[in-house]
């Protein structure tokens, strides 16, 4: 009986303040979509890091005849120097961080270079002689790359040690910034949602002050009076967060899986499973958040 009565009150309240309810729905919808997007972006970053860092190697380039840097001074690295670097990597302190070492001679480097840049202007000036011999070192974990770099840099005949992770950093920092921006927008929208819910409750309490007075008169408990107001906010937020959850799933399924994954086959994008994991979280967050906002607003505007 009382549940039916409370639900009836909620329904009347939502209908009476329809425009405000719609505003709450839209604002929670947009804010939670941004929250979801930020979470998915972070997931994407983690996934890409996992994918690329596993493949990232440390390249130890050796001097050739034309290099004019201080360490080389136009003298190609001797086989002994190369051997010394290999020994250093196989040494007891470093070996535990090294998964594999592969030597690449000038012809192999040239072939790989032509594969990457063939047809461009740079490629016209490249010959096998201009390439550097290199050791491609695979660290055991991405973090071990630093140890490898430290152990080899500065050894005689070494031109440069390049950690491939460094090349990926800009991509991740762009993605990271994007997700921070999404979080920022989400926070602003959530503030708007809280204020909207508070205003809705204020209006709702005002338009229902007659009923509220009578309820108090006949001895309705505070909880009984307050619950419809809280539920009103929660129901509106629930609709908004369901829309947001739907939008996130649709975004991942339609745009990421349907377009990006098909176009950029080498990039692993977040899957539908990830989106389905985020969606219920968004709904729970939205409902909890609205409930809290409503409870606080009621304490302020609904003196019982």
């Amino acid at each position: 009986m009382r549940v039916a009565l409370v639900l009836q009150e909620v329904w009347t309240g939502l209908r009476r303040n329809l425009s405000m309810a719609v505003a709450v729905v839209l604002v929670t919808f947009i804010s939670l979509t941004f929250v979801g997007a930020a979470v998915l972006l972070q997931m994407q970053i983690t996934q890409m890091k996992g994918f690329w860092y596993d493949r990232a190697q440390v390249a130890v380039y050796f001097c050739n005849d034309i290099d004019q840097t201080e360490t080389c001074s136009q003298a190609a690295a001797t086989p002994e120097q190369i051997q010394a670097v290999e020994d250093a990597l196989a040494g007891p302190a470093v070996a535990q961080y090294v998964d594999g070492v592969e030597f690449e001679d000038r012809d192999a480097a040239y072939a790989r270079f032509m594969e990457q840049f063939g047809g461009t202007t740079t490629a016209e000036f490249a010959t096998a002689d201009t390439m550097n011999e290199a050791l491609w070192v695979s660290p055991v974990t991405p973090a071990d790359a630093d140890v490898v770099a430290e152990a080899t840099a500065g050894l005689p005949g070494v031109l440069e040690v390049r950690d491939q992770r460094a090349l990926l950093e800009p991509i991740f920092s762009v993605l990271n910034t994007a997700s921070l921006a999404a979080v920022g927008i989400a926070v602003l929208m959530l503030v708007a949602a809280v204020l909207l819910i508070a205003t809705t409750i204020r209006l709702s309490a005002f338009s229902r002050r007659r009923e509220l007075g009578i309820m108090r008169l006949v001895g309705a408990s505070n909880r009984f009076i307050q619950t419809p107001f809280i539920l009103e906010g929660v129901v509106a937020a629930l609709v908004g967060s369901l829309l947001a959850a739907g939008a996130i799933v649709a975004l991942v399924q339609g745009v990421l899986q349907g377009y990006v994954a098909q176009t950029l086959r080498t990039v692993a994008v977040v899957s539908l499973d990830d989106a389905l994991l985020v969606a219920p979280g968004l709904v729970a967050f939205g409902v909890l958040f609205a409930g809290l906002a409503a409870a606080v607003a009621i304490r302020r505007y609904l003196k019982v």
């Binding site: 009986m1 009578i214 001895g219």
Partner: protein, 244 residues
């Protein structure tokens, strides 16, 4: 049932006290008129019984409970023991007569079966048996007040408070309402009614408490609206001065 011990009340933004040193006791089953001019403190007294206001000084006991010691979240449960009727009826305009009366019981969480028995019963008592599906604006003022009384007593409260219940009604209708209140009183409910309708008070021959500027001027067991005995029955506060 209701006891005021030297109660004073001053509203925050008012220099004059609404009630000054009021002591009063209402026994079970009594019918008490509170009379006095507007602003004499009748409504304040009723609001204090409802614990809508707290006294600035003194203690109030209602139904054996010290009102000051009831925490505000328990106040709704306390109020379920009191029926209240006002001059302006305070009915829900969008609900029918039946729904208005049933609302009280719904709020208190009574079962559907109980409500469907209790509401027609009480509507019969107040003489509105055939009008349960009407909306308030389709009823006369007297009928609306009967709905309000039905709502106030449907829960069978031991005390019924009425603040100017006949204030908006013509004399004939008022007499009907008073007959109803008297009947409710006869069934054992204590009734406290604030009014400045002298003909009603004179006709009923019940206890009369007169307030003037927040003080009890007169308390007669069988009184009329205007003073009948030359000497007031209440203790004069001047005795304090004599003791000094």
């Amino acid at each position: 049932m209701i006891r005021f011990d030297a109660v004073s009340k001053t509203y925050p933004r008012s220099a004059r006290a609404a009630l000054t040193d009021v002591s009063l006791e209402v026994a079970k089953g009594e019918f008490v008129f509170l009379v006095g001019a507007s602003g004499s403190g009748k409504s304040t007294l009723i609001r204090m019984v409802l614990r809508e206001e707290q006294p600035s000084k003194g203690e109030i006991h209602v139904l054996g409970q010290r009102l000051r010691s009831i925490p505000s979240r328990k106040v709704p449960y306390f109020r379920r023991n009191l029926g209240v009727v006002f001059q302006d009826f305070r009915l829900l305009r969008s609900k029918t007569v039946y729904e208005n009366v049933a609302f009280t019981l719904q709020v208190l969480g009574k079962s559907r079966g109980f409500i469907s028995e209790a509401v027609p019963d009480v509507l019969k008592v107040v003489g509105l048996a055939g009008k349960s599906s009407r909306l308030p604006h389709e009823l006369s003022g007297g009928e609306q007040q009967r709905v309000a009384i039905a709502r106030a007593v449907v829960n069978k409260p031991p005390i019924l408070l009425a603040d100017e219940p006949t204030g908006n009604l013509d004399p004939a209708t008022s007499a009907g309402i008073m007959a109803l209140l008297a009947r409710i009183n006869e069934s054992g409910t204590t009734v406290v009614m604030a009014t400045h309708d002298s003909s009603i008070v004179d006709a009923m021959q019940k206890r009369v408490v007169e307030l003037d500027a927040g003080r009890v001027m007169r308390d007669e067991l069988v009184g009329s609206y205007t003073t009948t005995s030359p000497v007031p029955v209440v203790d004069e506060p001047t005795s304090l001065g004599a003791a000094r």
